[in-house]
Structures are given as C-alpha cells and as structure tokens.
C-alpha cells in the first residue's frame, strides 16, 4: 500500500484498512516496531523498542525530556534521517511493509505529521492546505478547493477562515495555525497522523480545541501523539507508551491500565509527577 500513485489522492477508510490488516496480517497494529534502535552519531536515542500501534484510537507516547519520544514518532515518517549521521537498527513495519526500506517520500504521503510549533508556510491559507495535494500532482482547481474545504472542516477551522482563504496563513492565531497544520496534513488523506506535542505552544482554550479535534479525527484515522502532559494523555489517548531515560520502552498498554497500575516503579514515579 505504500505506493507512489501520483495524481490521485485516494483514501482508504479506516474500516477497510482494519479488514485488510486482520485478513492479511492477523493483526490490528498498523505500525509495528521490532527491537527498533536509533542513533544520532554515537549517541543512542532509542533502545530495542518493540511495540504495535493499534489502528483504532489515539496512541500517546510519553516520557521525561530527552527519552526519545519525538525520535520514535519521527521514525514513523522517516523525518529523523534529515539530520546527518543518524542510524537505525531493528525494523518498523507499516501495514506489513518494511518502513525503513521504503521510499521516504511515499511513506510521508501515508503518514502525515503535525509539528510541535505551528509552521504554516508563508503563503495563503488556501495554498497551505493545497500544498500537499499539489505535491501529489493535483492541479484541478475545483478538486483542490474541495480538498481544502474538506480538510479545514475536519480540522474544525473552516468556519473561522472560509471567508478569507486568500489571506496569509501567518495572520492566524497560534491555535488556528496549529489547526491549519492539522488540515494541511489531512489534505493528502493520510492513514496515520503523527502529532509531536501539538499543544505545547498553545493556551488552554486552543489546547482544548485541538484535543477535541484529535478525538474526532481518531474515528477516521490512526493518531499517534507525543505529549509530556499527563492530563492530556489521560484525556485523549486510548493507548499509551511510556519511554524512560536512555530510550527504553518501559510500558505499553491501554491508557486506563497503565495509568491505574503501572508495572514498573519508575513509570509509577513518572506518572505521579515525581520526575519528568
């Protein structure tokens, strides 16, 4: 399914993907890592991480600063390798295919990303959303307009911006810019949406809107979110992975179970806010 199919942006519904997974791989994990390790130069950021991201719901990746949670997230869409001198070991499978051997450009078309700091391009709102579809060869104006509206609606931004799509995206507020980032990622109709601490630069109200939007999106696609906010993880995630210093996966399971009765003492300490 990781194909460079060029001019058409086709969405496979989450139900069809789940059926496919169950039938062909007898699994419900859309992304699976096996003893995955990652190095920046000589420094090891992740150590033998093995986990399966369930296709349904929101999966949160948590852990203290520097534990490698962003590195793990960015491994899923091959963004880590933009830095020089990086090395990966182990495997990551996306829909059964070796993600580390795939074409990163094709991977990113299926696995979208929202960044920690809002990063709208210095272009109009419309051109920001249409950027992805255009990259994939869609030129037809009406088709683009359709995708732009659909994406903005899904990101709960349409009503606020529909009358000034030609205005610069930089004129939006921080919260709006972040929802624009979500809409921009959605416009290529990804199967998975990665979110790297999307609320860390936002006020509580804007955070609330993003969280609500994220919950709704999880009905239609797989969401993986990095957060260091325990309450946020509790509010929006169904599954949680806790990494600890040195890039070791300490705990992975349903959010309720992990929060209520963590296996390891260190995770219990982390979750009770004793360090982090």
């Amino acid at each position: 399914m990781v194909t460079q199919d060029g001019a058409t942006v086709t969405a496979r519904s989450i139900d069809a993907t789940r059926d496919w997974l169950e039938r062909n791989l007898h699994s419900t994990s859309i992304i699976e890592t096996e003893r995955f390790g990652f190095f920046y130069g000589r420094e090891q950021a992740l150590r033998e991480v093995s986990l399966g991201i369930p296709i349904d719901g929101v999966t949160a990746i948590m852990g203290p600063s520097g534990c490698g949670k962003s590195t793990l997230l960015r491994a899923f869409n091959r963004m880590n390798e933009l830095y020089p001198n990086t090395r990966a070991e182990g495997t990551i499978r996306f829909l059964g295919q070796d993600l580390l051997k795939a074409d990163p450009v094709a991977v990113r078309r299926h696995i979208g990303m929202v960044f920690q700091r809002p990063n709208p391009f210095p272009k109009s709102i419309f051109d920001n959303i249409a950027y992805g579809p255009r990259v994939h060869g869609i030129r037809h104006r009406a088709h683009l307009a359709e995708l732009v509206e659909e994406s903005l609606r899904r990101a709960a931004l349409w009503d606020e911006v529909k009358d000034h799509l030609k205005k610069s995206a930089l004129s939006l507020s921080g919260g709006q810019q972040q929802r624009l980032g979500i809409a921009r990622a959605l416009a290529v109709r990804p199967t998975v949406l990665l979110m790297d601490e999307p609320c860390s630069a936002l006020d509580p109200k804007a955070t609330d809107r993003i969280e609500t939007t994220t919950r709704e999106l999880a009905q239609e696609l797989t969401v993986v979110i990095v957060t260091h906010n325990l309450q946020q993880a509790g509010r929006i995630s169904d599954h949680v992975a806790v990494l600890l210093a040195g890039g070791v996966l300490a705990e992975f399971g349903s959010t309720r179970t992990v929060f209520a009765s963590p296996f390891s003492e260190q995770v219990a300490d982390y979750l009770s806010g004793r360090f982090g």
């Binding site: 869409n77 963004m79 933009l82 020089p84 450009v105 094709a106 990113r108 078309r109 979208g112 990303m113 960044f115 700091r117 990063n119 709208p120 391009f121 210095p122 950027y131 992805g132 990259v135 994939h136 610069s168 930089l170 980032g181 921009r184 990622a185 290529v188």
Partner: protein, 293 residues
Amino acid sequence: MIAQVTSEGQRRKRIAQRIAFALLTLSTVSAFVALGAILYSMISNGVSALSWQFLSEFPRKMMTEGGIYPALVGSLYLTVGAVLLSLPFAVASAIWLSAYSRGGLWVRVIRVGVNSLAGVPSIVFGLLGLAFFVKVLGLGVSLLAGALTLALLILPILIRAGEEALQAVPMNFREGALALGATKWHAVRTVVLPTAIPGILTGVILGVSRAIGETAPIMFTAAAFYMSRLPETLSDKVMALPYHIFVMATESPNYYKTRNLQFGAALVLLGMVLLMNLGAVTWRARVRRRKQW
C-alpha cells in the same frame, strides 16, 4: 558604619571606562568623517557639472566637454548583465551548499574556494577575462566579455548571500513540506527559495554595488575609450563610468579643465549605486512584508 561607596580604585575604573568609550566613539566618528570628506569634495567640485545635458549627451571635444550618457548606459548594461549571468549559478550553488550536500570534505573545499574567489584582486579578474573570455573564447573586447568577467567577480558575493539566506529559512518550513511527501527539490523550489528571496536580494544589492564601481575587470575586457554610439549588440565595446573617470583623469588633453566633469561623473556613479541600493532595499522590504513569519 556606613558602607563606603566611593574609593580611589572605583574612581580610576570610571576614568578608564571614560577613556575607552571616548576612543571607541572617536573610531566610529572617524569613519563618518572620512565618508563626509569624500562626499563633500565630490559634491563641492562636481555639482556644477551636473545638468540634464551632462546625463543625456555624448562627450565632445576629446571629452573636455559634453556629457556622460554612453558611459552611464554602458555601466548599466554591464552591471545588469553581470547580475543576470551570475545569479542563476550563484543560487544553484547556494542551494547545493545549503540543502543537498551533507557537509563533508567537498563542501569545505568548495567553501574555501568561494571565499578565496572573493579575495582575488579585481585586476586578476580583468586579466583572466582578457585571457579566457576575450582570447580563448574569442569574444573580443565586448559587452559580453566584460559582463562575464564582472559576473565571476560578484559570484562569491552572491553565493554567500544566497547560502546565508537559504540557511536562515526556518528548518520548520522544510520539515513541513517534506512531511507532506514533497521531495527535497520540491520543498526548496516551493517553500525554501521563495522565503529566501529577500536575503538573496541583499546579495544582489552588494553585487551590483561592487560590479558597477569596478574598473580593472572591464579595462581589458569591455571598456572603450570613446564611442560615438551606444552598444547595439553583446559583441560591441562599451563605455563605462569608472573607466570613463579614469580616462578623463589620466588621458585627457587638459586634466584641469575637466576636473568638474570628473567629479560630476564620480558623483553620478555614487548616485547610481545609492539609487540601486535604495531600489533593492525597498523591493526587499516589500517582499519581506508579504512573506513575514
């Protein structure tokens, strides 16, 4: 006992500070004084030569009378030509240096090369232009050969400015584009490069100011002592302001009589640089406002 707030040591430190500040101020002021002196002598000696005829007429009577029109136009041609020839290569190199190369030996070698090129004396460019463009390529002494020589001269300036401008584009933008499945080249073309344009324009300003005032590189490659008409093709010789000033000051049958013409021409040259800078700065400010982040 009340704390003692004045002492001999503190007084001495205060004096030392005053002296240091005075010296720093003096150094700064001296730069302005030098600039002021140049401007003053140019304006006081040259302003009498300025007139519409001076700008729009050909020189007459062995350049002891008349205007500087062909030199003005020639300088414009040479400079614009140099920028047009240099810019595509400079931008391409800057993109390669900042976006594609992963550091390493080659990049360092090339960077050293670019920096050394910037330090080469302009007369060397002139001789290179004569040997290579004029002779080997057989372009002859011509507008094209001169523009090419000047293009080489400003190439390192444009590359450096371009590279800096590209690197100043937030990594965020690049990542945002790549995360949407754009290739590196697509990201550069659609997001990084457009954002870097104001910075690249800064390089163009610097390049123009440098190219328009140079005499040595065009002396053997393009400049004509005198022409009775404007250049019509790329293989024509051209007159150019800096060379024209040089000629009037050294080859004129009567240097003293043409003093005010020389100063006037120098003043016009300075004015052109100023005008071009002003134009580019305004343009840059406008582009920047549209691309604010």
